[in-house]
Symmetry: C3
Subunit: 394 residues, 3 copies
């Protein structure tokens, strides 16, 4: 029973709306009310976005093929995992100008649960004097990849002894003549009935010479998990505020305020501990601990971790971000001086495996929390009171 | 007979082409050959624009949902109210880069009879040092709203004792994380058989804190109404040329030249008188007075008025603009120093009601002219010969 | 038998996919298996591009209506004439920001066999202090025309005594209020069974005053014609390296390296000789001379010729460009000082006729080579060793 079946979802003759369910793939998921729906959004700034909704019987995962294979939200039993950005709907890249708003135009499209930031650069805008050429030095906030559409988007139904898995793949290219030639191969693995999504990403450098990579997974959780008294947790080696604003509340870095009018974002840089496989984890949980969201990731590919506390008023985008990444989200030129920019050899790839887990009751929240405790072990976190521009993992 | 019926016109499953007429809405407009057609434009730079054409039995109003609910043109008995821009067709926002042409890229899409300029800023480009943040300081010509697509576009058929009215509504959002969060609720009210359109606009500040608003209605009239010897008229309290170029012809501010090769635009700032309800009016009429275009508006929400004389050669965009607005179209930072930038409280709204009237014969031109005379009453307009950067209403 | 038949291909109600063949046009091409297919591309960055594929029985010509009527590639008997850019697929202009990458964003969409560069400006970006206004001074690399969509795209089947010809026409406008108002009327003439395409382009200045024009035909040939030992040829009056980098290999300007990691582009400016009609020609041929690509053009409309050697690694875009043009691809302000910017009078047009010929065997390569020899005659080319910023034709 290792029969896999693959279908094209977007472009190249795939029809604009597709719904697949148990009756379409007879050998797959016989005991689960799964479905996959691919549609083209049609309203306002979303018009033209190819949306893939995968229901695995337990939860529905919404993937935005046209926004760099971003993950918009997960809905599970009436609970939405994601956040309420002032940008209410997914925005087609045709309406985004990364150069607008003083090169901060990226914020006009930001509302996903998981948004990749990169690939050539991530972090704040500016002119990167260390770039290979003028083609790569004009840095805009958080890079291009979230505003590039995927091609070759396909679905595979994978069956093996342990599980039945819906796999969604798409390719997003950040390429230009004389510039970078990076190919993101994004893969979502969604097993039937499972509360965990696996993301297996590869970035291939298609150029004849080494390329730089910056990639940050901007994973954003809002209400209902985030609330007054909610908290985050990770197996911390050390933690430092990014700036004076973050240092103000260094006594309480792990808990969240209620929605707060006028709250200015606070960012903390962390070095995390990993298990024997160099894997680490982080989570946000609600005040009562009856819901949460957990992520697991690999410190070899994603050695840096940032917490973004953005507990502004609800209408302004009450949210927190868990951000495993290849470097801290400082300006690229600075990260290069710190040795934190990845180099990918010609024709070579960078890979990572990241897991997202919805936590719907006290028991699963507690289990995830214990997983983090186990990684932490006896080591004591070092909390720096003064701002640091980044912490180097050992 | 107060039965209203509402239909979705764009997005969210609305089919791409819709035509409604008397047989579709049996209770509405039994004695009028009205129709509403919603289509998606398909050619060149217009491809993808959702166009709504409302024929009320007398005239056809063309609304561009995808261009911020702008009003492209009105056609009445073979006469087009609008103008011939060098930009021949409506331009989809995907082809507009507001940052191009030294931040003047807005002009590449400008060809409407009524184009809203705003919402966060209006007027010339520059860096607004008084802005709340870098997200709002990068001012491009005339703002974003005309190049953002509407969502939730709907039609309502409204019947009451006095009239039967086709109402078109759409919502346009100018929003970003950390930036403005303004929602334009645009409404066109088109009564059957009537030569007047009512525009009821609301701008809602969805943010948790006060927001700034600049909004100018760029209402543009070209041939055939505009011609050599055509004139404009409004109940003027005072008028001043914007600059030396406008001051050159301060002796003849009210009349228009024929299409003139090499004519450089002339702009006049005005304070207008209002009636007891603080409503005012303005009009353009042809040389013989047998055709014209009138507007009525509210001085409490739109206290400033600008005349744009642009009688260039026909091929260059022979046109005049009547521009009621929340401030003069100077650079926003300057308007702020003059106290002319609107502040909308958190969760609060700004509203206005504006009327557009096609004038198809001497009688209706004369009637509208008398309406203006009545507002003017005995007060004498003050004409300033020297340029002023704005006139404050009393 | 001079019956012509014209069909609309894009927009204005033309259906989104059209295939025409012999059975549809009974009187045309009875003895040839020709076809014309118009489709809308649907995948990734290509989504929404209107593609026209003309098979004339011998070869298939792919025209990108949505990318300024560019010619993507020609396929003949399994051989592709074109090149492999790092930009793998045609890119819809909605994904191109000409202001990105330090105003070099044009490179993110560049992968055509023939790409027009212009119309208001061509060449490197910068602020052109000699421009008519701020609307025309903000120069981005190679201009706008390749990233503007065509309208009124039509096909005509033309029959006369000598030939049966499929004619594809499209109009691309580069226009704004207060800015340029140029209309490109692009025409491809493809005769049945013929290895030569004729391009008849007109640029109409629709403004009331003279306009500047810069237009360069970026004609790009990669593998398989381009290979180690391949060479180019033209009837040269004089040739000069553009810069020190090009001067390095001035001893071997006519031959090509194999794909070379780290190769930096080399550009040579040329004055060419013409025949009695002032027509000239150029070609690239493979090492063995069994395949090649030839172009013929008119020195009165296109007096300048540039060779772009870009024999980078295959994955980086191994390619050479033959570039007949109205000026050299230097910054516009400099070209203006050299008297090389075209002025088109109000309402007047610039026209050119350009031919592209696929050369599929030694015989046709040799015949085209002899055509160039005949133009060269006894004149000896002057090769300048030192860089020059342009060579003026006599």
């Amino acid at each position: 029973m290792n029969q896999n079946s693959t279908h094209l979802l977007c472009g190249n003759g795939a029809s604009s709306a597709i719904t697949l369910s148990q009756s379409d793939i007879p050998e797959f998921g016989k005991n689960t009310a799964w479905s996959v729906k691919k549609s083209t959004m049609s309203s306002g700034v979303s018009a033209g976005i190819e949306l893939i909704e995968v229901n695995n019987g337990l939860q529905t995962v919404s993937i935005l093929a046209t926004r760099g294979m971003g993950l918009w939200k997960i809905e599970r039993e009436g609970c939405r995992f994601g956040w309420d950005s002032p940008v209410l709907q997914p925005v087609h890249p045709a309406y985004i100008n990364l150069k607008s708003r003083n090169n901060l135009g990226w914020v006009e499209g930001f509302n996903e649960l998981l948004c990749r930031c990169g690939l050539s650069f991530n972090g704040p805008p500016g002119i990167d004097d260390g770039a290979a050429s003028p083609l790569e030095s004009d840095v805009t906030l958080h890079g291009q990849i979230a505003n590039l559409p995927a091609e070759s988007v396909e679905i595979e139904f994978e069956t093996n002894a342990e599980s039945e898995t819906i796999v969604i793949r798409g390719i997003v290219r950040e390429a230009s003549l004389f510039g970078p030639n990076l190919e993101l191969q994004a893969e979502y693995r969604i097993s039937l009935g499972c509360d965990e999504i696996q993301i297996c990403d590869t970035v291939l450098n298609r150029a004849s010479r080494p390329a730089e990579l910056e990639l940050l997974y901007h994973i954003n959780v809002g209400q209902p998990v985030l609330e007054s008294g909610a908290s985050w947790k990770a197996p911390i080696q050390s933690l430092a505020p990014k700036d004076a604003r973050a240092a103000e509340d260094i006594a309480t870095p792990f808990t969240y305020l209620p929605p707060t009018v006028g709250y200015a974002e606070q960012v903390y840089f962390c070095k995390l501990n990993g298990d024997s496989q160099k894997r680490s984890a982080a989570m946000v949980k609600s005040s009562s601990g009856n819901s949460g969201f957990g992520i697991e990731f690999d410190l070899q590919s994603l050695p840096y971790f940032t917490i973004w506390k953005n507990t502004q008023a609800t209408e302004d985008g009450y949210c927190t971000g868990l951000e495993p990444s290849t470097s801290y989200p400082n300006f690229k030129a600075f990260e290069r001086t710190q040795g934190r920019v990845v180099n990918i050899g010609a024709g070579e790839s960078w890979q990572t495996v990241l897991k997202l887990k919805t936590l719907a009751d006290n028991k699963s929240v507690e289990a995830f929390s214990q997983k983090i405790d186990a990684i932490q072990g006896d080591s004591q976190p070092v909390i720096h009171n003064a701002p640091q521009s980044g912490l180097q993992p050992e």
